[in-house]
Symmetry: C2
Subunit: 424 residues, 2 copies
Amino acid sequence: MQTPSITDITAYMERVGQNARNASRQIAKAGTQAKNAALLATANAIQAQQAELLAANQRDLDQGRANGLDNAMLDRLALTPARIATMIEGLHQVAALPDPIGEISNMRYLPSGIQVGQMRVPLGVIGIIYESRPNVTIEAASLCLKSGNATVLRGGSEAIHSNQALAQCIRAGLREAGLPESAVQVIETTDRAAVGAMITQPQYIDVIVPRGGKGLIERISADAKVPVIKHLDGICHVYIDDDADLEKAINVAVNAKTHRYGTCNTMETLLVAESIAAKVLPPLCEKLRNHNVELRGCERTRAVISDAILATEADWACEYLAPILSIRVVDGLDAAIEHINRWSSQHTDAIITENYSKSRRFLLEVDSSSVMVNASTRFADGFEYGLGAEIGISTDKLHARGPVGLEGLTSCKYIVLGDGHIRR
Amino acid sequence: MQTPSITDITAYMERVGQNARNASRQIAKAGTQAKNAALLATANAIQAQQAELLAANQRDLDQGRANGLDNAMLDRLALTPARIATMIEGLHQVAALPDPIGEISNMRYLPSGIQVGQMRVPLGVIGIIYESRPNVTIEAASLCLKSGNATVLRGGSEAIHSNQALAQCIRAGLREAGLPESAVQVIETTDRAAVGAMITQPQYIDVIVPRGGKGLIERISADAKVPVIKHLDGICHVYIDDDADLEKAINVAVNAKTHRYGTCNTMETLLVAESIAAKVLPPLCEKLRNHNVELRGCERTRAVISDAILATEADWACEYLAPILSIRVVDGLDAAIEHINRWSSQHTDAIITENYSKSRRFLLEVDSSSVMVNASTRFADGFEYGLGAEIGISTDKLHARGPVGLEGLTSCKYIVLGDGHIRR
């Protein structure tokens, strides 16, 4: 399977696209029970095929090592019994979520006598383009299936054997539930032309969700003819207001920076109101130093924290994804909002304040996908928000914004009920 | 103003874009009262400037005639006291609509203790590209303003004087309400490069809404780097089921075809279940003939309506926008749904039936932006749906589907309220 014998990529992708479009009609009208049955049968197949999955993954790992993948990449690529158990658990969780499809809302009678409302429906065919982690295959497929969509998945070439082994389990699950196997197709070639075909087939694919680094997502967005739900960087801010509670401010800021360094909802820049800077920064920075966080500050920050490195504009624009924090002392709320709306990646930003009016202004005026009061930016996550699952976090404004769960993979059509009504 | 002295379009559009982005921050946080004041002051300005508006429009009409515009185009271009009164009325109506911005919904406590919900926010900057009708300037600007967005409008070159005169009224209204004048900018040049700039400036424009013919919209969609809310054709169907009430079937079908011929929600193809064809088609076709509707039918239709012209596949794919109807006799519900999902433009499709189960299947399985039971397709309209106003009808699936009112010009961000909560 290393270099699959697919010589004509165009014809292959055409076939994949047509299969997906056809399957999407079937999966859109599949009942909740059939979709759940497919998810649980997939979980059982993964359980039963564990040895084969680990063997396929071992081939990827061996080849990755031979190709000089670094340890971080090899770690992301690796399947273990524990990770397989997490996948199985995830399938059970998605099966337990309420089915969003067919939900009818806001059915109101109008003066003409017709009754109008909306019905939640699948988007159709969802294309997922991702990098090395093979568990994305199961996560993405399960969310798309539950939301009544057909899926075309294109994983990283380094995970091809693992992904194909998982695809077999999914096909077995679909078959057992009486659903079309092509409702979930995992591209069988590592040829990059497959990605080019996926993002330029609006007749077959309704939306692309890329999961991976900023470079991948920018490349895909630039060339796509299909709408892309994208997630670029996460330059998140915490603003400690004049009226902040000191203990909350310190707890939240330390958590937002140090809970995990490599995640997109980690705080990268701390803003502090000048009137409170001398009080809050010394104890806060001591805690951050205990976590070995490198501190970079503006001149006013350095007046309080003398050993902070001088921050430049490049720091305000930087997603460190590392134990580094930039700190800026600002005059107050207006300056904080201005800084955030200028430098934030519109992912997640928080204010720490006890002031009612300032909390309201921050919520209204900060133009980010998640805006928080007195809570850690680390909460910006589909599970923490109660969505049950998450296919990604959107920093776009159209369609889905913030964590994207099942609903983000659906759309609403209008339905109109009449009794022979005609327009006058 | 005919050839505005804007020599450097790139620099001009850059300035327009920056102005719009800056104004969008102001207009996003403007209160309901200020936005309504601007709408009403614009209405007053239009009232006061009626003579100047008519004079500017006369210049466009004279030039249009000299350039050989046909009568239909000249009619669309013309402003009359009655049309001006309609614009003024429209501004009052939009002012009376509830303000969608800042609406908070679904605030729920989660196990971690945070409270999470969503706040409705503007999209930011909306670009409108439209053809000859100058009233679109006011309609689009008022909806974008009410929904807290800045707007960049690019009307047809044949309406440049009318649109600039209307732009003056809008600026006066914004000024009077203390809002930035650049919240609504009407492009001052007829140079087509302005359109090219608008659709490729995602840093300044968040979404493009084109209003005009299919050709315009396809061109814009093909080249846009900014998301487009688009409306292509309206190939709408009525399916008369075996279990249809004859009177409802005939009334709805006649209304859907003959109420207006040139609208996108007009029926273009009638589907009839074979078991009822001989009963329903003769009286229905007689009524259609009385409206001088040309009938084109499949072979089975012609077995009942012998003088119908033979329809070909090209008819199933055609938006006539004219007193022409194609008719196909189908085996039943399955064949009807299959025909619709194959040939419909996914705009609006209706079933006529008294059968409960078949009505449910039609609603669920027809993949169109409006799906109706026992009602005329002509109801697919923002006003008829109770949206209060409509910027267009979307045949897309992402973001907005069907008639797009104020809500379609907004998005929802997540808001999180805590009391110093941190992630464990």
